[in-house]
Symmetry: C2
Subunit: 203 residues, 2 copies
């Protein structure tokens, strides 16, 4: 057990939302905006997509290695989604907390539900699409998924929206106004640092 | 009873803090920054200071009129401070809520404690001086108070800080960086509008 943030103003921020809503684009833009934070890299067994790099977008590891990690309790949360493992390595979160910076974790909604139980002192932000139709078009535009995948993802949206009440904040991410989304996420982080009863996370 | 904000994103924001910390300057700068809100005018029986206008800085009313208001339960909260009455007219808060804008109330710390009980769904912001010494200099610089007043106000600071835990947020107001203070207050308002479980006020 490692106790962190007792006297600091550092936060653990969980950014979640439906597949295709723009979590990665939001985080990339947050970095570009000059906001300092430790971005926790998720481990996965899925195949790399064109343009992705190991250790930047994900830690791409083998199924054997991932299962070894599970047996050693090395993941804060993990799940098998669409036949692939995804997990948040505890070591990654601890590394951020040890460096006295805010820690940002990107997870799918199912993962966020688990994290809410494991680290309730984190700040939970749900990125919302302006509409289901908008989300559908974004996923199709990404061209990384098969038709079957697109159908599966859209079906999940209804389920995922049922978990909205577990989150602290909801931010609508409009495709053509990522700056607005980033401004809102930064406002949330600033406000949370002014809270009299500051949240804190122990792992 | 008037129910407001059921389906709106409008907030009631209470800005408080020790005398001399810069509540008025912060609110003036918030207005100048383009933020739209209904600023609730406090009623008082104290004498006008140079430069103050009735209906802008305060509703300056007689002791008789104020006491009539008390007997008719027309104040959300009121108090006698330094021998003068100060009160928040319910009609002023209702007027703001009816107009579908955020409502901002400035009160001293004692008043905020009462408001926390009366309208717990408001957002409570405590403006902090960088230090007690800084506050002392600001009050003396204002030249509106006698030496005895200055001593009284400084003595109250210790008492007032004990109530900090009742507030949602604390913002340090540095005399030479009012823009920072205003940015933080605006971030708090933006973040509160993204809350999944939105606060609401009924009067």
């Amino acid at each position: 057990m490692q106790k962190a943030q007792e006297n600091s103003r550092d936060l653990v921020i969980v950014i979640s939302g439906p597949s295709g809503v723009g979590k990665d684009a939001t985080i990339t833009r947050l970095k570009q905006s000059g906001l300092k934070f430790h971005h926790v890299i998720t481990a996965t067994t899925r195949n790399k997509r064109p343009g992705e790099s190991n250790g930047v977008d994900y830690l791409f590891i083998s199924r054997d290695k991932f299962q070894e990690g599970i047996s050693k309790d090395e993941f804060l949360e993990y799940a098998e989604v669409y036949g692939n493992y995804y997990g948040v390595p505890k070591s990654e979160v601890r590394r951020g907390l040890a460096n006295n910076t805010d820690v940002l974790i990107k997870v799918d909604v199912q993962g966020a539900i688990t994290l809410k139980r494991k680290i309730p002192g984190a700040v939970f932000i749900f990125l919302l699409p302006p509409s289901a139709e908008d989300l559908h078009q974004r996923i199709r535009g990404r061209k990384a998924d098969t038709e079957k995948d697109v159908g599966m993802r859209m079906g999940m949206l209804t389920e995922e929206l049922k978990s909205l009440s577990l989150f602290d904040y909801a931010v609508v991410n409009r495709n053509n106004d990522l700056d607005k989304t980033v401004t809102m996420v930064k406002a949330i982080i600033s406000a949370e640092k002014c809270r009299v009863n500051m949240r804190s996370v122990t792992i």
